[in-house]
């Protein structure tokens, strides 16, 4: 665990640095692979920065609407750099909408754009696991195993290391197989499906899971729903491609 890196009088937050480094590396890899998806580098950067800008603006707007009194008393906080003043779910929704609008205006093919963004997403997943390892968040359930780590007053599953291993494995599987995908969008769906499978499996070793009735873990249920959607989409697209192939052949 290394939440801050002290260099002289300055303390750098390691989790945020991990995410920034992942964004930079992810963008560099996505840029290198963009031509395979028939997406220009300008379009790729346009998509990402539109998503980031609308995401941050939406996340702040949602937070302001949630706690208007706090901002009426302190209007300068509207433009505060404090990351706590963001609503992550709204940020995701607004960011996605921003990218969709940009994509439509720039006439970017939908599935190609998702494939082009996948390297960035896969590296961000590695960055997120590193951020969790640095901050001690997303910690494991208590367990007395030879590879358990002592964290937050107990011996625990090293859940952040499991998360990191899964993210690296997914990155490796996707990009060693990159040339063999038959349809645009398969790379993105494979990434989403593999990530959902990893979450479904690894959430069982977490010690901080939100639960619902019967102790069922919310994240596992969401991961399972995402997995169903991925399977349905894969199946539907595969079926259509076979029909099309049959007509052409």
């Amino acid at each position: 665990m290394l939440p801050t890196l002290q260099i002289g009088p300055l303390a750098f937050p390691v989790p945020q640095l991990s995410l920034l480094a992942a964004l930079w590396l992810g963008l560099s890899l996505a840029e290198k692979l963009s031509s395979r998806n028939n997406i220009s580098v300008e379009t790729l950067y346009g998509l990402v920065f539109t998503g980031l800008l609308t995401g941050v603006a939406g996340a702040r707007l949602a937070y302001v609407l949630q706690f208007p009194a706090a901002f009426i008393q302190s209007p300068a906080s509207l433009v505060s750099l404090n990351a706590g003043l963001l609503n992550p779910f709204s940020g995701f929704v607004f960011g996605t909408l921003g990218m969709l609008i940009f994509g439509q205006r720039a006439r970017v093919p939908f599935w190609n754009a998702l494939d082009a963004l996948t390297p960035l997403l896969a590296i961000m997943a590695v960055g997120l696991a590193l951020a969790h390892a640095a901050s001690g968040e997303a910690f494991g359930a208590a367990a007395n195993l030879p590879w358990s780590v002592t964290l937050w007053g107990a011996r625990r599953h090293p859940s952040q290391i499991y998360e990191l291993m899964a993210a690296v494995l997914i990155l490796g599987v996707l990009f060693t197989q990159i040339k063999s995908y038959p349809l645009p969008g398969t790379l993105f769906l494979a990434f989403t499906g593999l990530s959902a499978t990893a979450r479904l499996f690894l959430e069982a070793f977490r010690g901080d899971s939100a639960t619902i009735i019967g102790g069922l873990r919310v994240a596992q249920i969401w991961a399972w729903v995402v997995l169903i959607l991925v399977c349905l989409l894969m199946e539907y697209r595969n079926h259509r491609a076979i029909q099309k192939d049959g007509k052409n052949g």
């Binding site: 937050p13 499978t197 959430e203 069922l216 595969n238």
Partner: protein, 186 residues
């Protein structure tokens, strides 16, 4: 192009989804396994580590005695610019919510500070919330402090709701966190 045979893929998807469902049911959290709130640790979801410290005017304050209230434990030092920058916001929020059950504790990491400087800063900025002196570094160690300021928002049940490493925190953030926790109480 060669596409996978539909029957095999359907069987594979069905297998994955069924195994997933069984795994969700098998790995459900047993009711007696939720122990986070019972273990003291400086992390969200855990019991705030208890300490007893003296204030600048010689009074003794024990954190666990404040159960039932919303507490901000702010670890700081008088030489730290972001710590000093967030103090007026903490004071303002304290003044606004102190009658609704909010307590701010400014825990000076005195092992790396001097009481004279602390007293002078507190007087100059007119801080009215309790300033505690962590003279032997107990709270600094218990809360695993690696950089200043670090703040812990503690709920009425003594469980940490949020941790903020670094600063300065904006006043809107402080206020929104206090409001969120007050909603839990009322």
């Amino acid at each position: 192009m060669k596409f996978p045979q539909p029957l095999y893929t359907r069987l594979f998807y069905s297998f994955i989804l069924v195994v997933g469902l069984i795994w969700i049911w098998y790995s459900a959290v047993p009711a007696n396994m939720v122990t986070n709130g019972e273990i003291p640790a400086p992390q969200t979801g855990f019991l705030a580590p208890d300490f007893t410290l003296k204030t600048l005017d010689g009074q003794t304050i024990q954190l666990s005695a404040l159960k039932g209230k919303i507490v901000l434990v702010n670890l700081w030092a008088s030489w730290c610019p972001p710590c000093k920058a967030e103090m007026p916001a903490i004071e303002h929020v304290y003044q606004t919510y102190k009658n609704k059950g909010f307590v701010a504790l400014g825990v000076d990491s005195t092992i790396q500070d001097t009481p004279v400087n602390v007293t002078s800063f507190v007087k100059d900025t007119n801080l009215s919330f309790p300033i505690l002196l962590d003279e032997n570094g107990l709270a600094t160690r218990l809360y695993n402090i690696q950089s200043l300021p670090t703040s812990f928002f503690v709920g009425p049940d003594g469980i940490i709701r949020d941790v903020v490493i670094g600063g300065p925190m904006s006043e809107a953030y402080l206020q929104s966190q206090v409001e969120k926790m007050l909603k839990e109480v009322h």
